[in-house]
């Protein structure tokens, strides 16, 4: 969640103006998701939209800097510091096998039913037993292994 900007806060680094409208879009979407009613949803389901928007925004910042190289290092650092993207998640995306990771909870082995396992969404599509519906409880991910 980005910090609130007032007149007393420091000015964002150069290049922020170009991506401001897209980040504002994400902020608006996030606010809508937060205000959405939980009625008719399962317990686990209510936080999925928020996780998904946060993931998409992190992904956007990550691609701007690492893939498209469209923003400067100071701006990227500032975006991370302000919470526009999840630095820990991005750190995982840089590692092989974790390129599409949906959220950090899905690789927390301690939270799982069986010791040392990860979330069902981390299983490669080819190895999932047929008939299994992949839809994880943490973020509603439908599969985030690198081959999917």
């Amino acid at each position: 969640m980005p910090k609130i900007r007032t007149t007393r806060t420091k000015k964002p680094p150069e290049g922020y103006e170009e991506i401001e409208s897209i980040l504002d879009d994400y902020a608006r979407k996030m606010r809508d998701a937060e205000n959405e009613s939980h009625e008719g949803k399962r317990k686990a389901e209510s936080l999925w939209p928020i996780m998904q928007i946060s993931h998409a925004r992190s992904r956007y910042v990550y691609e701007l800097y690492y893939k498209r190289e469209a923003i400067s290092k100071p701006l990227y650092d500032w975006l991370l510091k302000e919470g526009f993207a999840d630095a820990n998640l991005i750190a995982k995306w840089k590692k092989p096998g974790y390129e599409k990771l949906c959220c950090l909870r899905c690789i927390q082995t301690k939270d799982m039913n069986y010791q040392g396992s990860t979330c069902i969404c981390r299983v490669p599509k080819a190895q999932v037993r047929s008939g299994t519906v992949v839809n994880c409880v943490h973020c509603g991910c439908r599969g985030c292994s690198s081959d999917s």
């Binding site: 399962r42 037993r129 008939g131």
Partner: protein, 321 residues
């Protein structure tokens, strides 16, 4: 401090393997179980116990243990389904057939104390149930009622609560059952009643159906509160009959028995109860007959007043009452 060093936690259960029935384990011989120490309080004695959780096969729901091993061993039941391990029947059916007394206390602190005491007495994997002195008629009845093959339908997922409300958005992906829930007596069960064998709807259904199949259908006339015992042993006396009747019905207080009328000449007897309800329970328990003085006795319902059998019986009833 690890729990076992704390005096208050010394009785907490730590176990390596659950006590389960074949049905609950599922059809796959290779299953993966998760174990959680002191994961939950026992459904009957409320002490923390080691919870096991596993999937009994594809398309089934995850099952967990709900009562502790001490409680399961005391009654010789499965930790998950609370059905008898030998016969796969509810405890109420088994206890009625074998004439066992339910001695476990039901108040909060007492049941914890009882479980703790029993834990010391049960050594190893021995069950707390002694079936050696049970009646052969009762055992035969259980054999008839018991299900021999595992019943995996019991492991199916629960009914989808969103589907019931008409708003399940998952469609065919939904792991829960999309069915209309049946709202009958069997839908209202609880762990305590099932474990202690009190007003268990499943047991009532099984016992009622069995009594009916043995020709002991409760008569329409609600005034009939007597059972007719025939082919008694020649050396039976009224006292021996009364003793055996009360012994085979531990839930019935002696005061609930109105009278026992023995007709020595025709080697039959009437057992009269005060309440119709007690009489029905007795008929269910004796569906396969009753053993008195080494002889298997046939049981029938008494007749209504209008078509009562000849004089000797009516006169003896009059004498007794």
């Amino acid at each position: 401090m690890p729990p076992k060093l704390d005096i208050n936690k010394a009785g907490w259960e730590q176990s390596e393997f659950p006590v389960l029935c074949e049905t609950c384990l599922g059809d796959n011989p290779f299953i993966r179980m998760s174990k959680q120490e002191f994961g939950r309080s026992c459904g009957t004695c409320a002490r923390p116990f080691t919870v096991f959780r596993w999937n009994p096969g594809s398309g089934m729901r995850f099952k967990t243990t709900v009562i502790c091993q001490t409680c399961a061993k005391i009654k010789n039941v499965c930790q998950t389904c609370l059905l008898d391990l030998e016969y796969g029947l509810p405890t109420q059916v088994r206890d009625t057939a074998l004439g066992f007394v339910n001695e476990a206390p039901t108040s909060d602190i007492n049941r914890e104390y009882y479980a703790q005491n029993m834990e010391g007495k049960l050594d190893g994997n021995k069950s707390g149930l002694d079936t050696s002195k049970a009646q052969s008629a009762g055992k035969e009845m259980l054999k008839q009622l018991a299900r021999t093959d595992p019943y995996y339908k019991r492991n199916r997922p629960k009914v989808c609560s969103f589907f019931v409300k008409g708003e399940c958005t998952r469609g065919t992906e939904c792991p829960y059952r999309h069915e209309k829930p049946v709202d009958n007596e069997l839908a209202h069960q609880n762990i305590q009643d099932r474990y202690h064998g009190r007003n268990d709807p499943v047991a009532r259904k099984i016992l009622g159906a069995h009594a009916e199949s043995q020709g002991l259908k409760p008569p329409e006339d609600q005034n009939i509160t007597s059972l007719f015992l025939s082919s008694l042993s020649p050396d039976s006396t009224e006292l021996s009959i009364r003793t055996q009747v009360l012994r085979s019905l531990p839930t019935v207080q002696p005061a609930e028995l109105k009278s026992v009328v023995h007709v020595a000449k025709s080697r039959c007897a009437f057992v009269n109860f005060k309440e119709r309800d007690t009489c029905e329970r007795a008929a269910e328990a004796w569906a396969n007959g009753l053993e008195i003085d080494g002889q298997r006795v046939a049981v029938k319902w008494g007749r209504s007043k209008a078509s009562k059998p000849p004089t000797p019986v009516t006169s003896s009833v009059a004498v007794a009452s």
